[in-house]
């Protein structure tokens, strides 16, 4: 907390920063008033168009489910196979751009002005960006992906160690193990975090240093100039709201199905729509409490608790599982990742299209469509960091944690599959039949205290969804309030509830897959948007004090 008075002076300055001189006043397009007893302060037309379009698309998915599923079911693979080169190439550019910023003098620029100090400790900051960025994904893909890539998708043509009759081909084991981990790490390390870092850096720079509102359009000021306050900016913000809300709602719907599967596996709870609706309602209810407790009392506290529990689970699996194998997997997986990074990133002339289109291009489109949400949240909590510190902490450290996570969870699962294939529950749920939600629980079943660790797994999944829902509501509210961070709280409650309601409606009426495919489709235009952002960041940083 900083305080000030007119006689003591204020803790000025935050230091030199290159404020953009614009005639636009934040909130000048906002509609402010009361709806019944509740106040509102929303951007016109971003709020209205976003909310109405979302309702219209939900109706479309419900009214014509077969048509919607068929169209988006075709669209998604078409996009990832036709524009694979664009997604892979762009993601490589984002990584190179981030690495360039670390070594360039531009890395000395501080977000928030030359003298700004960080608002959060490393632990709080890191927990929040991790919980918003990919906490939930690690729970679900930590076991699934390494095993799948080792045995089925065959990245870069590395052959599977499991024969069709289920026997182990000893000669293929070592290479496939290493590639299984490396191919997973590729999807969770430098590239996704570079995507988030670009968006977050652009938003933080143009808001904290240039004085523009904390909303996606501000990052395009160097390109569009004053026109960002018009329709070009409205479209960018509406797209961001759209991708964020549907991304969250569909994830919430699928998450409820996955949590239900976990509860069935652990407690024998029936798998039914009713249970899933109860789960969505509970998750949304906890998220509402978190929303009402604010950024520091809600998201931050939950993120730190969750990271603590996740770390304990990681340590448990590390020491109770095959510890020495995990350590050697960590080194071997990391080494293979470094060695194969260029072949895996190569967008041209690849034969492993199952891996490249089905996984890599899909992931890149997914991370990019989520980047407005995660990037904006990271931006909001990153004031006071230098660009170099920011990139190292957003790019390098989460990457190392992801490598460790994959080595521990994936390495243990791979060890279970290869050491006793007949008894391995992971093999049954991932290789023999494809049940992604159960993969984590199947791996835990092979370790002691499975009944306790599986419950912890379900709790972690639910709380990671709560933090996503909460931070997502915060982000959508800020965008639809024209960049205001202090709009009336009922608006945040509205978005959080709306997101839960959309998830329930889609769960009951069908259409979750269609809308998730549509969210991923927004990844294509956003990839172009992010490339422009890199240029805007470069321009913006050049004029800053270093």
């Amino acid at each position: 907390m900083a305080d000030t008075d007119d006689t003591q002076g204020i803790p000025l300055p935050e230091g030199a920063a290159d404020i953009i001189d614009t005639d636009y006043t934040i909130g000048q397009d906002n509609l402010e008033g009361n709806l019944g007893p509740f106040g509102f302060d929303v951007h016109n037309p971003v709020f209205l168009i976003s909310a109405l379009t979302i309702v219209a698309f939900v109706f479309y998915a419900l009214a014509l489910p077969e048509q919607a599923t068929a169209f988006f079911g075709w669209l998604r693979p078409w996009l990832t196979s036709t524009f694979d080169w664009f997604f892979l190439g762009a993601a490589n550019i984002f990584v190179l751009f981030c690495l360039f910023l670390i070594v360039s003098p531009l890395g000395s620029v501080r977000l928030g002005g030359k003298e700004a100090t960080p608002d959060y400790t490393y632990v709080g900051w890191f927990s929040m960006l991790f919980a918003a960025g990919m906490g939930i994904g690690l729970m679900f893909f930590g076991v699934l992906e390494p095993v799948y890539h080792m045995a089925i998708s065959q990245p870069l043509g590395v052959p599977s160690p499991i024969a069709e009759d289920g026997s182990i081909i000893a000669a293929n084991v070592e290479a496939a193990k290493r590639m299984g981990l490396a191919a997973t790490i590729y999807h969770w390390a430098l590239h996704p975090w570079a995507i988030y870092a670009v968006v977050a850096l652009a938003l933080a720079l143009f808001s904290f240093n240039k004085g523009l509102p904390l909303t996606i359009r501000s990052a395009f000021y160097p390109i569009f100039g004053e026109r960002i306050w018009g329709w070009s900016g409205h479209v960018i913000d509406i797209l961001a709201v759209f991708a964020t809300l549907f991304g969250l709602a569909t994830s919430l719907g699928f998450g409820a199905q996955q949590a239900n599967a976990g509860l069935t596996y652990v407690f024998g709870v029936p798998t039914s729509t009713t249970v899933q609706i109860v789960l969505i309602t509970v998750i949304t209810g906890i998220a509402l409490v978190s929303v009402l407790r604010g950024l520091d009392g809600g998201v931050k506290v939950l993120s730190e608790i969750n990271m603590g529990i996740a770390a304990l689970l990681l340590l448990f699996v590390l020491f109770v599982g095959p510890t020495m194998t995990i350590f050697s997997d960590f080194i071997a997986g990391l080494g293979t990742y470094v060695a194969e990074l260029i072949p895996l990133s190569n967008p041209f002339g690849r034969a492993d299209t199952d891996y490249m289109h089905g996984w890599t291009a899909f992931y890149w489109a997914w991370w990019i469509s989520w980047s407005p949400f995660v990037g904006m949240f990271i931006a909001r909590v990153s004031r006071g960091r230098s660009v170099r510190e920011f990139i190292i902490c957003v790019l390098i450290i989460p990457s190392i944690v992801c490598v460790l996570w994959m080595a521990v969870f994936g390495g243990t699962a791979i060890d279970q599959v290869l050491s006793d294939p007949a008894a391995s529950a992971v093999k049954a749920e991932v290789i023999d039949s494809y049940n992604p939600p159960l993969s984590l629980f199947a791996m835990l079943e092979g370790l002691p205290l499975a009944s306790i660790t599986s419950v912890i797994g379900v709790v972690l999944v639910i709380v990671f969804f709560v933090t996503s829902s909460d931070s997502g509501s915060l982000v959508i509210d800020t965008i639809t309030a024209g960049g205001k961070v202090d709009a009336p709280v009922p608006q945040r409650v509205f978005w959080c509830t709306f997101e839960g309601a959309v998830a329930i409606v889609l769960l009951v009426g069908g259409g979750l897959s269609a809308l998730q495919a549509m969210v991923i489709s927004t990844g294509l235009p956003f990839t172009a948007v992010l490339l422009l952002m890199c240029w805007a960041i470069f321009q913006g940083l050049r004029s800053e004090a270093r």
Binding site: D3, I10, G294
Partner: protein, 138 residues
């Protein structure tokens, strides 16, 4: 009886603060007390300024204007929060102690049905404050 009167200010809606400002000025004159105008802001750019420092300057100008208009001693404090929309009540309660106020004078709306769900800021302050709180309606 009172030496320091804290008056929470919403710089966006100064026109709605008329009664509370007048009451605070009268009390300050009666008790020869200092009035401390306080506000809560985020660090993100807003319609009130590009940074918290600009908002602080605006608040300081407001304080000077009130002092000149009513003839009482006045200072201002801006409290910076990560999430001002939610943390306002918490910040104001902390502010009382930080500035050593012994009375809070605050504008508050006439209660309506929304207060059953969300207590008003004034209501929350009156409920939890250790010092006297005077809510001015209308």
């Amino acid at each position: 009886m009172f030496t320091k009167i804290m008056v929470p200010i919403d710089l966006r809606h100064l026109e709605r603060l008329g009664n509370a400002l007048g009451v605070a000025a009268d009390l300050a004159g009666h008790y020869k007390a200092e009035v401390v105008y306080v506000a809560v802001s985020g660090r993100e750019p807003s319609d009130l300024g590009h940074s918290a420092e600009e908002v602080a300057a605006r608040l300081a100008a407001f304080g000077k204007d009130q002092a000149a208009r009513h003839g009482h001693a006045a200072t201002t404090h801006l409290f910076v929060s990560h999430d001002p929309a939610v943390d306002l009540d918490k910040q104001l309660l902390a502010a009382e102690g930080d500035i050593g106020a012994d009375l809070v004078v605050m504008q508050s709306h006439v209660p309506n049905v929304a207060d059953y769900i969300w207590a008003s800021h004034g209501g929350t302050l009156a409920q939890h404050s250790r010092v006297s709180v005077m809510l001015v309606r209308g």
